[in-house]
C-alpha cells in the first residue's frame, strides 16, 4: 500500500498548498513533501513489493527502475524552488507550489499505471497541470510558449488517446478471454491474438502522441519555447520527469506490440525516430545562440538517444534505463545552474551575455561541468550510459550505421554546446550585466541543489549501486518476457 502514498502524498501536499496562507512559508511545502516522496520511493526501490498492487496500478519493475530518479530530481528542484520563489517574491506562488506538487503526484501515477487508460489520464493530467507552471513569468513570450505547448502537446496527447483506442480495438477484435481488457498484463497475455493492422495503427499513433510529450523530432517544436520561457525548475521537471513518463509509456506499449509479433517493426521505427531526433538536435545545437533553448535541443538529443536505445533489444533497453537516470540528474544540474546565470545576466543569448565566470563563478563552473557531463565526459553517468547504448548499437540487434550516426551526432552536439557555453562563461561581463548581477547573488540555496545533482550524476558513473542495476535488469525482464 506504500506505493499508493507516492501518488496521494504529493496530491495532499498540493491541496494543502492551495489553502495555505502565507506566501513566504508556502514554498517549503515543496521540499517537505518532495523529501517524503524520495524516502518512500527509495524505500520501495530497495524493498520492492512482491506483487504490484493491482492489475490497474502498482509499483512494478519498470516503475521501480525509473520513478526514484524523478523523485530525486524533484526534491532538489523543490529545494532550489524555495530560494527561487524568495527571489521572485513579486509573483504569487500559490498556484505554482500547488501545481508542482500535483505534477509530482500525477507523474508517480503515470509511472505506476498498468492500464492504458489510466496511463493516458495521468499523462493528460500532467500536461494540463504544467500549463500554469510554464506561464509563471507571465510575460508575452511566456504566453506564446504556453500557447504552443498547449496546441502541440494537446494534439499529441489526443493522438495518443486515439492510439490507445486503436490498441483497445485490436484487443476487442482479437477476441479471447482478455478481449477489451486494457491492462498491460492482459494485453501482453493476448499477445499474438491482437489484430495486427490495429496494433500497427496503434503503435504509430502512440509513438507520435507520447513522442510529442517526450519531445522527439519532428514533434519537438514546443520544447525550445517552453524550456526557454519557463523557470529553470519547471524546465528541469519537464525534461527529467514528464518526458520520462512518456518514455515509459512508449516502452510499455512497445512490449505489447512485440508480444503481438510486430517487435521488429517497432524497434526499427524507434531507431529511425531516435536517430532523426539526434540529427535534428545536433543541427539546431550548432545554430542556436540562446543558452536556455540550447538546453531544450540538448533534451531533444537525449530523448533521441533514449528512443534509439529502446529499439536496440535487451542491452539497449538496459542502457536506456541507465540513461534515463544519468540524463535526468545531469539535466537537473544544468537547468538549475542555467537559471542562476539567466537571472544574474538578465539575458539569454550569447550576443548579450558574457563573462559569467566572473559574475557567478560557482554557477558558471557548475554549468560548464554539467555541460561536459551531458556531452558524455567520463567519469560522469551519461558517459557510461551512452557507451552502453553504443555497444548495443554495434551488438546483434543493432546496426553499425546507427552507431556511426549516433557518434557523429554526439560530436556535433558537443561542438554546439561548447560553442554557446564558453561564449557565455568566458570574456568580460557587460556593464549592464554587472549591475543586474548584483541583485541576484549566489546563495547556498541556489547552488547546493545543482551541486548535489551533479554529484549524483558523478556517483552513477563512478560507483553504480548494485540495487539500481538490479532494478534495471528486472525492468528489462518485465518488458522482454522470456520466450
Amino acid at each position: 500500500m506504500k506505493e499508493l502514498l507516492l501518488v496521494l502524498l504529493p496530491l495532499a501536499g498540493a491541496a494543502l498548498a492551495a489553502v495555505w496562507r502565507g506566501d513566504r512559508t508556502r514554498p517549503w511545502l515543496m521540499p517537505i513533501f518532495g523529501a517524503a516522496h524520495v524516502v518512500l520511493s527509495l524505500w520501495l526501490l530497495v524493498a520492492p513489493p512482491a506483487e504490484p498492487l493491482g492489475s490497474w496500478f502498482g509499483f512494478d519493475p519498470l516503475a521501480r527502475a525509473v520513478l526514484p530518479t524523478v523523485s530525486l530530481l524533484f526534491v532538489f528542484c523543490a529545494a532550489y524552488g524555495v530560494s527561487y520563489l524568495r527571489v521572485r517574491a513579486e509573483r504569487p506562488n500559490r498556484v505554482f507550489v500547488s501545481l508542482m506538487l500535483a505534477v509530482l503526484g500525477l507523474l508517480s501515477a503515470g509511472h505506476m499505471a498498468r492500464h492504458l487508460g489510466l496511463l493516458w489520464i495521468a499523462t493528460e493530467g500532467v500536461t494540463l497541470a504544467a500549463i500554469p507552471l510554464l506561464h509563471f513569468n507571465a510575460t508575452p513570450r511566456a504566453f506564446e510558449a504556453t500557447w504552443k505547448y498547449l496546441l502541440v502537446g494537446g494534439t499529441g496527447i489526443a493522438l495518443s488517446l486515439l492510439g490507445s483506442f486503436a490498441l483497445g480495438y485490436a484487443s476487442l477484435h482479437g477476441g479471447g478471454e482478455n478481449a477489451g481488457d486494457l491492462t498491460f498484463t492482459a494485453l501482453l497475455a493476448q499477445g499474438a491474438g491482437l489484430t495486427r493492422p490495429w496494433v500497427l495503427a496503434a503503435w504509430v499513433l502512440i509513438l507520435v502522441g507520447y513522442g510529442t510529450k517526450m519531445g522527439l523530432a519532428p514533434m519537438h517544436t514546443w520544447k525550445p519555447d517552453a524550456y526557454g520561457e519557463a523557470p529553470g525548475i519547471v524546465g528541469a521537471i519537464l525534461t527529467g520527469g514528464v518526458t520520462t513518463v512518456a518514455f515509459t509509456a512508449i516502452l510499455r506499449v512497445r512490449a505489447v506490440v512485440a508480444a503481438a509479433g510486430a517487435g521488429a517493426i517497432a524497434d526499427r521505427t524507434l531507431i529511425v525516430i531516435g536517430l532523426f531526433s539526434l540529427v535534428v538536435a545536433a543541427l539546431f545545437l550548432l545554430g542556436t545562440r540562446d543558452f536556455k533553448r540550447m538546453l531544450a535541443y540538448s533534451s531533444v538529443e537525449h530523448m533521441g538517444i533514449l528512443a534509439l536505445a529502446a529499439g536496440l533489444g535487451r542491452l539497449g533497453l538496459w542502457a536506456a534505463l541507465f540513461h534515463v537516470w544519468a540524463n535526468s540528474l545531469t539535466k537537473g544540474a544544468l537547468f538549475l545552474s542555467a537559471g542562476n546565470i539567466r537571472r544574474a545576466a538578465g539575458a539569454r543569448t550569447m550576443d548579450e551575455v558574457g563573462g559569467m565566470a566572473k559574475l557567478t563563478p560557482v554557477s558558471a563552473g557548475l554549468f560548464v561541468a554539467g555541460m561536459f557531463a551531458v556531452t558524455a565526459l567520463p567519469p560522469f553517468g551519461p558517459f557510461f550510459s551512452e557507451l552502453r547504448v553504443l555497444r548495443a548499437s554495434f551488438g546483434p540487434s543493432g546496426s553499425a550505421i546507427a552507431g556511426i550516426v549516433f557518434l557523429a551526432c554526439l560530436l556535433f552536439a558537443f561542438f554546439g554546446l561548447t560553442r554557446v557555453v564558453f561564449a557565455i562563461v568566458d570574456g568580460r561581463p557587460r556593464v549592464a550585466t554587472k549591475l543586474n548581477g548584483r541583485r541576484f547573488p549566489e546563495t547556498a540555496g541556489v547552488i547546493v541543489p545543482p551541486l548535489i545533482l551533479l554529484g549524483l550524476s558523478l556517483w552513477l558513473g563512478l560507483a553504480l549501486p548494485e540495487v539500481l542495476s538490479a532494478s534495471w535488469t528486472d525492468a528489462v525482464a518485465q518488458l522482454y518476457p522470456a520466450p
Partner: protein
C-alpha cells in the same frame, strides 16, 4: 440500427465540411455544437437504449450520452462564444488555407478515410458502420483547421473537432471498456477547454488580438 447511426455519422461528416467552409467564427462554433449533440445521441443508438428501463440498466452509457451532449453541445460552445465576446474578436477568420481549398481537402480526406477504413478489419457488429471513416474524417478536419486557421478560437474549434473524431472512434469500444476511460476523457476535455479559454483570455491581454500569426517572437 446501423442505418440510423450511419445517417448520423454522415451528418457529422457534413458538419465537418461546414466547419471547414464557414468564414465566420459563430457559424464555426454552431457547426461544432450541433456535431456535439449528434455525437451525444450515438451511444444511445449503439446500445439500443430506448425507454427508461433500458437506460437505467445501462446507466454508464446514458451518462456518457448526457455528459457529451452537455459538454460538447452546450458548455463548450457557450464558453467559446463568451471568450469571443469578452476578447472582442473580429468575427472573420483570415484563413491561411482558403475556404474552398479547405473544403476540397476535407472532402478528399473523407473519401480517403472511407478507402483506408475498408482495409482495417472490423468486428461483425461494426461491419457496415461508418464509425471508423467518420472518426478519421473528423480527425483530418481537425488537423486542417488547426493548421489552416490563424485565430486562436478557430484553432480551438479545430482541436475540438479532432477530439470529436477520437470520441467517434471510442464509440467502437463503448460496450467493452469500463466507464472510467470514457469519463476521464470528458473530464479532461472540459478542463482542457477551460484552460484554453483562460489562455485565450491572456493572449488577448498580451497581444490585443487573437492572431496566432503574431506569436512569432520565438523562432530560430
Amino acid at each position: 440500427m446501423n442505418g440510423t447511426l450511419n445517417l448520423l455519422i454522415g451528418l457529422t461528416m457534413g458538419l465537418n465540411l461546414m466547419a471547414l467552409g464557414s468564414s465566420r467564427i459563430p457559424s464555426l462554433i454552431r457547426a461544432m455544437s450541433v456535431q456535439g449533440v449528434v455525437l451525444g445521441v450515438m451511444p444511445l443508438l449503439i446500445e439500443h437504449l430506448f425507454g427508461w428501463e433500458a437506460m437505467l440498466h445501462h446507466w454508464p452509457v446514458l451518462l456518457v450520452a448526457v455528459a457529451t451532449i452537455t459538454v460538447k453541445g452546450i458548455v463548450i460552445p457557450r464558453l467559446l462564444n463568451r471568450a469571443m465576446r469578452a476578447a472582442n474578436i473580429d468575427r472573420d477568420m483570415e484563413p491561411l488555407v482558403g475556404y474552398v481549398p479547405s473544403i476540397l481537402l476535407g472532402a478528399g480526406g473523407t473519401i480517403a478515410a472511407m478507402a483506408l477504413a475498408r482495409s482495417l478489419p472490423l468486428l461483425p457488429e461494426h461491419s457496415g458502420s461508418l464509425l471508423v471513416p467518420g472518426a478519421l474524417a473528423a480527425v483530418l478536419t481537425g488537423f486542417v483547421l488547426l493548421i489552416g486557421r490563424t485565430k486562436a478560437i478557430s484553432q480551438v474549434c479545430g482541436y475540438l473537432i479532432l477530439e470529436n473524431g477520437i470520441y467517434l472512434f471510442g464509440l467502437l469500444l463503448i460496450h467493452a471498456t469500463p466507464l472510467l476511460v470514457e469519463a476521464g476523457i470528458l473530464l479532461d476535455l472540459t478542463v482542457g477547454v477551460f484552460v484554453i479559454g483562460i489562455i485565450v483570455d491572456h493572449i488577448q491581454r498580451a497581444f490585443d488580438t487573437l492572431d496566432t500569426r503574431k506569436l512569432t517572437v520565438l523562432r530560430e
